[in-house]
Symmetry: none
Subunit: 299 residues, 2 copies
DNA sequence: CTGCACTATGAATCGCTAA
DNA sequence: GTTAGCGATTCATAGTGCA
């Protein structure tokens, strides 16, 4: 019997909790990478379906169970989330969610820190501005695919000066004289232009998709109420890191379509789900627009 | 009956778990601020007491219970910690610790992110370099004291005021006389830039107190092989934020004395506990040295 | 005193091999 | 099976000595 093939480059308008259980739309082990920024607990009540924080884990777990089923075995799932303060304290539902997802079989590989230099302004007596969010990395297996070379960054300024003065010692393997087992061979770095990044993400500029406009520079606050959860740089970075061209990218809470736009620009296939009609239409519009631009260049 | 008064500006050589239960040494509600970086699970086996990660929460909870008792009601506790990977996954003991501490009565107010720009190098197939650590903020009450204005000013300003009429030559003389890493660090520290009031901490340069020749003679390794857990900027920032002059600062795992040195420079009183004899002696040496520098100008 | 060459190393992690 | 030891790998900055 022919295996059901997953339909890609499609946007669903509906509820992830039920849509994801559809085995025809979402067969087992059919997508390469999942990234999403789910609606936060008790927030965005005016623009989304609020989920009470007491029920957040309970609400989200059936969805992560389906995502586990749908993800390919060597794939990754990036969950962008940050618990809000409530009554002066940080909520604990994210901590509980991690522990519960592990019981579902997920491996919690890493927690990337997205450092938002231009965080929302404000002043409170008990805390400072919140300038970072968690990007939790989950997998089904420990030997997942990771294309580290795709996200290399330019080497620091120190290198130019350092490489100018290479001694002979720099070209042989050098073992330091103390007890550290560190070895180094500086010549490995000769003429190196790019280095591997670390687990704190800082984007010099953050571009968000807004309702009404396609791509708009938005460092700071917009007058518009409906913004994408994350800037396009964020899904782009993880899509490059955890997928290759023509792979399938899923975002079950796609909002105004940022993940799909990033996927299209990076020559991946997208699948998006969005509950709210306005967001769904906006996402479709953004996708059509970027697809048109891409097709102009690659007909 | 007279209430027991807590003894300050003292370093204990012993085990926090038992020392902190001493009601005479540590009366109820007697310290204003606690900051520490406990030994991490399963690490530093050769230089500290390793705690297996499976037993970490169980080991630490009795200590946090005493800290709760000892902390003043409007005080704060900063816990600097980061879970290591184990078998390719992040451990969960920090998450569990937060949940358990809340059961003890602690409020989990905030999680500050300490972004370490020059993290340890390395490359692995499943992760990048770890460049951040958690600084968990706990309190007994929701209306704790927080001196936000104290961290808005550049470090250089308060330091310049503190050492107003001390010439640079005084430092140079001190450095050359003692050949001291500490004094050199401090003199560098005087011209430092401003820090930003949000919940991601970045220190431009990190100054650590180094263990000197105690280890060298005892173990036969380099004198610079063992460094303080955190740079002096880290405790300094939080001490300024959560205490005022003459307040009492406690660090139950003080290592080479960084917290005490920061407290002295900021005119607070310190209490430190350290289990390992070499660290204890090194901390005492660092404390004596900074006290001498301070007294040069304030006899 | 400054600049340049060169050394040292920081709460690292993974994978392989030997016992 | 399990664990312990060691090699391989990597970026950025501070410190030292000398011209």
């Amino acid at each position: 019997m022919a295996k059901t093939k997953i339909q890609t480059n499609i946007l669903y308008n509906g509820d992830s909790a039920s849509l994801l259980t559809d085995l025809k739309k979402f067969p087992d082990k059919s997508v390469n990478f999942i990234i999403t920024s789910p609606p936060y607990a008790d927030k965005r009540k005016n623009s989304y379906e609020g989920v009470p924080s007491a029920k957040y884990v309970e609400w989200f777990l059936p969805i992560t169970l389906q995502l586990y089923r749908i993800l390919k075995e060597n794939g990754s799932f990036i969950l962008n989330i940050k618990e809000h303060p409530s009554n002066g304290e940080r909520e604990t539902y994210v901590l509980e969610l991690i522990l519960e997802m592990k019981k579902q079989g997920w491996f919690w590989i890493e927690e990337y820190c997205w450092y938002k230099k231009n965080s929302f302004p404000g002043k409170w007596p008990n805390r400072f501005r919140d300038s970072w969010e968690r990007c939790l990395h989950f997998t089904r297996k420990k030997d997942f695919v990771m294309y580290q070379d795709a996200v290399k960054v330019p080497i620091g300024d120190w290198a130019a000066k350092r490489f100018k003065s290479m001694s002979e010692n720099d070209f042989i393997r050098h073992v330091s004289k103390n007890n550290s087992h560190l070895a180094r061979n500086v010549s490995n770095w000769l003429n190196k232009k790019k280095v591997y990044p670390h687990n704190v993400l800082v984007f010099e500029e953050e571009h968000r998709l807004y309702l009404g406009n396609v791509i708009e520079t938005a460092v700071g606050v917009s007058s518009k109420n409906h913004s994408a959860i994350f800037p396009i740089e964020l899904p782009s970075w993880f899509i490059k890191l955890f997928s290759k061209e023509n792979d399938i990218i899923l975002d079950p809470f796609i909002g105004s379509g940022t993940t799909a736009v990033a996927a299209i620009m990076l020559r991946r296939k997208y699948i998006g789900i969005e509950l709210k009609k306005e967001y769904y239409h906006e996402a479709q519009k953004n996708i059509n627009e970027i697809a048109e631009v891409i097709n102009m260049k690659h007909p």
